[in-house]
Symmetry: C2
Subunit: 131 residues, 2 copies
DNA sequence: TATTAAACTTACCTTTAGGTATGTACTTGT
DNA sequence: ACAAGTACATACCTAAAGGTAAGTTTAATA
């Protein structure tokens, strides 16, 4: 598994925006730079660990710029690079698609959850019966 | 965590195409229906378990249609629904973006890997020293 | 009667992602 | 001397994703 070999462009793109948080971090940054603490508030539910971890990877990928003002207490601002903005543009249609079909998707995922639970319960019942 | 609440359309969309395999399964299906065995060959590296698991979820999400010909040995064909094709269209720009910057992304990810390994080795060295 | 072929299914295991909680560094203001 | 404020770092744990390998079903055919 030395070097990555992407089958298609999508695989590469998803490798950049993969994970639970990255797109949620990108979206507020479209309106301009944010400090670490601000971002934490703008992305509700994220932990500090996930926030810096994501930001670091996004910086490495070149879609986010980190600017350290060398003050105490620390002041660091994050913003989108040109590259990052081009990624946002490419994501726009997908975002729209998601918005248009959000209700439907939510319903499907709930359905999924229900099936998962049923299966889990069935498995539990079986394991109880065997003891 | 009862019901899902998506912050933006992207979150919903990524919930549909999330995971390692789904887009890789969708792409060959753009050229028409495929049997299970065909898909297995068209998506190199995928296991049978991951293939049906993904296909089932995609069917539930309404982006893939499963057609069982009730033959023996079994013959089942999978194809994209209208909804699935609309998703493909929405993915096109992202796919293009990924293709255009594939080299750059590959390089970044290798860089990432290297950092991870360094860190791992450092941690190992420390744990050895402490014993 | 045994075999074959295709599409699953299941059990078990390893790896990775993500969550929680606590600690650190540094300087300004008290 | 010390408390406060901000951006991290680190250790530990749980849950989810994914991999491997073996088994199951069915009717036609040898």
């Amino acid at each position: 598994m030395g070097l990555k070999e992407y089958v298609c462009g999508l695989e590469a793109a998803l490798d950049v925006i993969g994970g639970k948080w990255k797109v949620l971090i990108m979206w507020p940054l479209k309106n301009g730079a944010s400090r670490f603490g601000e971002l934490k508030r703008e992305v509700p539910g994220i932990s500090e660990k996930m926030l810096i971890q994501s930001l670091k990877e996004m910086e490495l990928d070149g879609i986010v710029l980190r600017q350290d003002f060398k003050e105490v207490p620390p002041r660091v601002e994050y913003s989108l690079t040109e590259f990052g903005r081009s990624l946002c543009d490419a994501l726009q249609p997908l975002c729209l698609w998601g918005e248009q079909h959000m209700k439907r998707i939510e319903a499907c995922k709930e359905q999924c959850e229900m099936q998962r639970r049923e299966k889990e319960e069935k498995a539990q019942a079986l394991s109880h019966a065997s003891t």
